[in-house]
């Protein structure tokens, strides 16, 4: 798979996770989100940015349970719950949001 941003080709694996993490840009995130049929808004950007910070600090993409717990700690229970997160990312908050954030597939996802 690959994405095209500003005429540039960005390689990705067969599931759509980009190959080189350094290829990521907010514009690319928009393109990936479109291919996932997700419209990026402030709430979704908040999660994507959170994941990028988490990766920067710990060098891993967290599993969904860990992500939701971490969001709850940082942003409160009204956001850190399954319902809210699955409304934002219906195909799995960790999987889809990590893909948009340009991170590897979360460890523990099969």
């Amino acid at each position: 798979m690959e994405y095209t941003v500003d005429g540039k080709t960005i390689p990705a694996d067969e599931e759509g996770y980009i190959t080189n993490l350094s290829d990521w840009s907010p514009e690319l995130a928009q393109v990936i989100a479109e291919s996932e049929e997700i419209e990026m808004d402030d709430e979704r950007w908040e999660v994507v940015n959170f994941l990028r910070e988490y990766y920067e600090e710990y060098q891993i993409a967290p599993a969904v349970r860990v992500l939701i717990k971490a969001i709850k700690k940082k942003m409160g229970p009204e956001k850190g719950n399954n319902k809210y997160m699955y409304e934002l990312f219906p195909y799995g908050p960790a999987k889809q949001a990590c893909k948009i954030a340009g991170l590897p597939k979360p460890t523990g996802c099969v």
Partner: protein, 135 residues
């Protein structure tokens, strides 16, 4: 859940040069996602995995040592380090990175995950386990 088993992942190898250390950590994270009771043991050269200020640019490997600090988020809060293995390598607890977790049952107080124990105590820890996986 009544079928939670006690898993101990035993790490005996240096962090880089072989894939064992990284693979062990990946398996730990996967195992923890399935809500098992997971603890880690570090002995022999495995104690080098927890040293602070690792710098891997020169060897072209990803420095995965920051990932140990995420273990608390996965409810992995016990990292046993063998004192004799540290001493044999001229290391002390001060050479290891600080790894904390938040205790849910104690008002989220921050507590250290690393526990330096003697070789004899390590044997006791191993005796308590249902499953021991060695890397």
């Amino acid at each position: 859940m009544s079928d939670v088993k006690k898993f101990l992942y035993v790490n005996r190898k240096a962090p880089y040069g072989t894939i064992y250390a990284l693979e062990s950590l990946e398996v730990v994270l996967i195992g923890a996602a399935f809500e098992q009771d997971v603890a880690l043991a570090f002995l022999d050269d495995g104690v080098f995995q927890l040293t602070k200020s690792q710098e891997t640019d020169g060897i072209g490997c990803k420095n995965f040592s920051p990932t140990f600090r995420a273990l608390g988020d996965y409810d992995v809060t016990r990292l046993y380090v063998e004192r004799e293995s540290l001493e044999e390598r001229g290391l002390t607890e001060d050479d290891l990175q600080e790894i904390m977790y938040e205790d849910e049952d104690d008002d989220w107080a921050e507590k250290p995950s690393i526990c330096v124990i003697s070789r004899a105590e390590m044997a006791d820890v191993m005796a308590e386990q249902d499953v021991i996986l060695s890397f």
